[in-house]
Homo-oligomer: 384 residues x 2
Amino acid sequence: MRETWVAGAAMNRFGKMAETGREAGARVALEALDRAGVEPKRLGLTIVSNAFGIAEHQAHVGPLLNTALGIPEVPSFTVESACSSSSAALHEAFVHVAGGFSEAVLVVGFEKLSHLDTLAATSYFATGADYTFESQNGATFPGLYATIANAHSQKYGTTPEQLGAVAVKNHANGARNPHAHFQKEISLATYLASPMVASPLRLYDCCPFSDGAAAVVVVAREALPRPAAEPLVIRASARAGDIGDIHDRESLTSLSATRRAADAAFQRAGIERREVQFLEVHDCFTIAEIVALEDLGFFPAGAAAKAGADGTTARDGRLPVNPSGGLKAKGHPVSASGAAQVVEVFEQMNALAGTRQVPHAEVALTHNVGATGSSCSVHLFSRR
Amino acid sequence: MRETWVAGAAMNRFGKMAETGREAGARVALEALDRAGVEPKRLGLTIVSNAFGIAEHQAHVGPLLNTALGIPEVPSFTVESACSSSSAALHEAFVHVAGGFSEAVLVVGFEKLSHLDTLAATSYFATGADYTFESQNGATFPGLYATIANAHSQKYGTTPEQLGAVAVKNHANGARNPHAHFQKEISLATYLASPMVASPLRLYDCCPFSDGAAAVVVVAREALPRPAAEPLVIRASARAGDIGDIHDRESLTSLSATRRAADAAFQRAGIERREVQFLEVHDCFTIAEIVALEDLGFFPAGAAAKAGADGTTARDGRLPVNPSGGLKAKGHPVSASGAAQVVEVFEQMNALAGTRQVPHAEVALTHNVGATGSSCSVHLFSRR
């Protein structure tokens, strides 16, 4: 298996896009290629993620994107795995390059739903859950994650203030990130006064609907003898699945796909958890960050809720988590979120993160979840 | 690169399904696994294709399918490449197995649109074209392929009777295929009397909207020392892209993605075209079969139109084309069509094709196109 790099990565400002998804995708792709110093014509494959392109009347967007890049002859396909679509696409890029099938693969994730009303946008999001047993019966993601939050609270005593600490931290980070949808700090008092969405989850527990685009250029080390930027070595790319419906699982307080993907990733990479210096984890809701940190093995079960409140996971804490602001503050354009986590790792490792720069940026982990954890991708990166 | 096999393949009867896509997908998956003699728990990955699952309110269907198969822990993702979705999924399965990332990968393609009215179903299909420059302006696939047919007719003198001969042949094959949507022969007179859809394409030039599901089990040779059925050796799996909009291409009478994918496939396989004994090609419209046979290199440009009429491509002709009935008669459930071509090759090579059995079934080619040829997959198979 060949050593495989992220040679470049870029994203736009998440929020509301005037342009179409494909236009935004082409723009960030060109920026990522430029950062990598890789000409489009060197690409052997383009992998798109755009789960809800139908909302823009557009499937099969890879050939259009490649045409915009001047490489219509290059094959392409679209990967969908709900909110983990672009990390699943990254995994396929890794497989193609590490396995010797391509020298360079472009991953582009984008989503645009802001032209829809909230009900329509919610309906698209809800397709990531099980229609027959969940969404058809009114269960949407705030309700499903609220169920997880309640179970976690009952089992471990997790408090509203601990959930709120995650929101306060991630907004503080987002305030320093020019790519973020929300670039303002919030106080715990603001959090506690915000409207209840699905008890115990308040407005500020929930990530927003965002438009956005992010791109990642994956190359074989041999293909890029003189990288234009500090490349990220992909030390491991692991994925796992789980039962779709949370009501059929053994536990409501743990996502087993995260546990299995993380164990596989650390084993393949030969890295210990204590070596990881910062993380981008899937915080679609504040409770999701807490559960992720436990399932990834960085905190014992029930212990991660304290880590936000006591500063452990702050940007300048012992283990910075979501220095980008996370899905919570940076925003969550479904099919761009996994790739955007890699953009943050790229910017941190290249000292491009400005005032949100973490103290140590040599080894990082990204964690991206589909739906309520029925798909999970974990990637480990290090500097050369 | 490891020798990689199709160990089993199965499909349902295309047409109108009462069950959901995911139910049909699970059913054909179990049948393909049973034919392969592979237990679900041996799978390392499931790749779904279901381009228009949103029409059933369901994205992220892989975990639900795996749960139905009793393997929720197995990772999954969905591949979309318009009408070539499941052949693109097959290519990813090949990459995972040939590259040593998995021992066994399941590909499942399904589509259900029959619960929609024709306009809504057409709107879903049209998302495979370019919304900005084609479908938004009223161009749908019958019109786009009619443009190709008119150009072919002007350049090479292709006649309505020659288009009709393709339809007559494929309906004759479909009449012998218990999986086919249309199991009845038609005469040339019936063809010529059928309503005009988009001149020169008549009703019988067009494949139908079909529901359907098909599954393919891909394994490493080493992983299956005693195969339960005669496996197909995947001699090559090649994909290519092209400009999305036909109005921007150099030629209207040739799909360059087919030419490039075919050239790559033959080169990688070390097979000559004259060794291929039968083909399943993408005949979404009759003109598409003619153009495909020319672009694949089996006939000179302009010469394939005669091959249907003179019996060359009949089931008992020199080069049987679409013995299954093709998309034209077997039906075209978008994301199942590429996988269903492989089911036909599997049944032919295992002498399971009944009265549609071709005389020689040792080397075969499948050809699957997305939209008007902006994506193309070509696979070459041989018996061991």
